[in-house]
């Protein structure tokens, strides 16, 4: 039973089976995100009015968050770079940075949500200026609230699962499971993390900037 399963390497080069699986998953997840984002854009086009970009949402704060996520993608690459050179300490350091980036991203998003849900006079004025009722910004605040919360929550759940995923990878790294010729799982996790990052740039553009 120890015999390895022979693989057909003809069509996708030397990519491992696990990596192909992750790519396929990314295609599927991308289609889910695509449907939510395109659906939101469609609803926006047919909506009678739509708040001006930045009138309710805190763009500078989220721009910082975006920067943070891009940095965490960079540290992910550095983690991979370390293990290629068999640098175990570097791997652990950069993986920890990557996870920290994801956690801080989630923290800032949670702070933003709580700020919207608690509401207040200032937020009420902003909402009134955009033609939306109430002094809180909730999922029930018109189609604008629906699109904002659905898109960012779905992405947030991905960051959360990415953080959990990378934590498992980190615990494997602490047990020195990776070497310079055996880091496939790390690469696969990296693919997922970069995908989340890429989707966020799209979400940030569509939800916050335009």
């Amino acid at each position: 039973m120890d015999q390895a399963i022979p693989m057909n390497k003809t069509f996708f080069g030397n990519a491992t089976t696990g990596k192909l699986g992750m790519w396929l998953f990314i295609v599927m997840d991308g289609l889910t995100f695509g449907t939510i984002i395109i659906g939101g854009l469609g609803l926006r086009i047919s909506a009678a009015s739509w708040p001006v970009a930045g009138s309710i949402l805190n763009v500078p704060l989220t721009a910082f968050n975006t920067f943070l996520l891009i940095c965490s993608s960079f540290t992910m690459v550095m983690a991979l770079n370390s293990i290629v050179k068999d640098d175990q300490k570097g791997l652990i350091k950069y993986l920890a940075f990557t996870i920290a980036g994801g956690v801080i991203f989630l923290g800032i998003q949670a702070w933003e949500y709580s700020h919207f849900i608690m509401g207040g006079e200032h937020l009420g004025n902003l909402l009134a200026a955009a033609g939306l009722p109430g002094s809180q910004f909730l999922p029930t605040t018109g189609i604008y609230g629906s699109v904002f919360y659905a898109t960012t929550m779905f992405h947030g759940l991905h960051v959360l699962s990415g953080v959990i995923y990378l934590s498992v990878i980190l615990s494997m790294a602490l047990k020195q499971k990776f070497t310079s010729n055996n880091y496939d799982r790390l690469e696969i996790a990296g693919l997922f993390w970069h995908f989340i990052d890429l989707v966020w740039i799209l979400v940030f553009t569509v939800i916050y900037l335009i």
């Binding site: 039973m1 120890d2 015999q3 390895a4 399963i5 022979p6 693989m7 057909n8 069509f11 996708f12 491992t16 089976t17 696990g18 192909l20 699986g21 396929l24 998953f25 295609v27 599927m28 997840d29 991308g30 289609l31 889910t32 995100f33 695509g34 449907t35 939510i36 659906g39 469609g42 609803l43 047919s46 909506a47 009678a48 009015s49 939306l132 009722p133 909730l138 999922p139 029930t140 605040t141 018109g142 189609i143 604008y144 609230g145 629906s146 699109v147 919360y149 659905a150 929550m153 779905f154 496939d184």
Partner: protein
Amino acid sequence: MEGIKMSSSKSIMSTHIFSTDHKTIGKQFLFLGIFFLLFGGFQALLIRWQLAYPEQPVPWWLLGFIINGEAGMITPDVYNQLFTMHGTIMIFWAITPLLIGAFGNFLIPLQIGAKDMAFPTLNMLSFWTFFLSGVVLLSAYFLPTGAASGGWTSYPPLSLPAGGIPGLGQAFWTLSITLMGVATMMGAINYVITVIRLRAPGMTYFRMPLSVWGLWLTSILNVIFVPVIAAGLIMLLIDQLLGTQFFLAGRLAAGGGGDPLLFQHVFWIFGHPEVYILILPVWGIVSELLSVFSRKPAFGAKVTVICMSTIVVLSSIVWGHHMYTTGMSPLLGKTFMFLTLLISIPSSIFFFNWLATLWRGSLHFDPPMLHTMAVIWVFAIGGLTGLYNATVTADIYLHDTMFVVGHFHYTMAASVLFGGYAAIAHWYPRMFGRMLNPLLSKIHFWGTFITINLVFFNMMVTGYAGQHRRLYYPGEFEFLQPLADMNIFITIMAFFLGAFQILFLYNFIHSMLKGKVAENNPWKANTLEWTMDYPIPHGNFSTIPQVVNGPHEYSNPNIKDADWVCQTVKIEGDS
């Protein structure tokens, strides 16, 4: 990860319940699928009872004592739940596990010469997620307001709290389908990658048996379209639970609001490929079994594959034909009509390939063959009546009538049921090491074939006469009163149809315990799954086979003393 880890402990838990062996998982899907098939079928009988004997107490043999409501009658609410859950269960929890779950798992690695799926643990997780989704679905029955009742399409705003259906039934429905989608996605990743990566040496794409082709194309459709419905379901779920307004409009929505039609688009972008997801494995299995039981190469096997692939592409751009009556632009309607009718070209081509496979073959009318030939018949009727539904002018009259119900039961229920029975009868010896009782199988086949046609053909007739598909009490309308006798006839035939399925269940279980022990290759088939002794060990092949032939070398004149040859055996004299 390339080697399969054999756990040294041989507990029941690891070998039968949380097994990563694709054959065990396939059987688990099979049992679960049969359970839900009977469950959904039973609901169908209750629906038929109400249509034939409206507002009469349900008799004990239809478990009338469980049906709540006044004096054991089916109330309108219960009736709505019945047809909703019947459709949902049959499509997502009966057909999907029976064909894609059970035979996808069982056949793909065996037929392409792999030791297991590419991701065995993911495979196990897929089954248990699927199981969980079934639990969530059925647990809705314990809610005070009952299960979902918004139709299997669950169109908003009806399916939203603001739209009128009380309670959490719809939310349970949405959640369970989402979980089912997750399980399907895990399976689809596995199937697609397994076929790409784990084919045995020499097993080129065109040497794969046609049933693997069908299952593979199905999985590709799943990969592309299940994520789309997942997004739609997430939006629907938060509409139901958090009060977002994606699918609410008009006075139901506060401040702006979304668009109910968006859900219909998302639903059918997935929903139309879904019918091909369900039927493609059957096409593949039929194409292959016809070749085995005609002892002839499958006529135009490559063309069949190309046609099936063409349909995969076309099926993704025809969803609008479900929405002719939603007020869509007539120009768009015409476009969708044209694209839909285009599908009949590749369908007809492989249909004639099936007939040509039979032509001058030496036909063996074993139970699998009977079921396979039944698919040809019911698929012909289902396909031809589809043309009426695809044509805008005819569809505006036929939309949402029993004609549509009859049509899609011919294509989806009858074709898939016979395809599933053909597959079970054919691969039963490989799954359980014994043969199904041929006499009982034949009685079951003829009983099913005759009654299923009488049920669904007459449904189309009542629909053409104007009976709407979701009426609680058709007799309320004067113009439908002359149909009462016909509805009673359909119902009686449906009861017989149900009774014959009990016979199948008896045969299925009895043969598993006491059936005739099967030889290794009882049908003299060429494909790889028949090459090893029963029981097939975890890991399937002791050495990975080297494939030298296509799967259809039946009656090759260069083979001496036999009309078949295994895919691994070189034929002397063949180039």
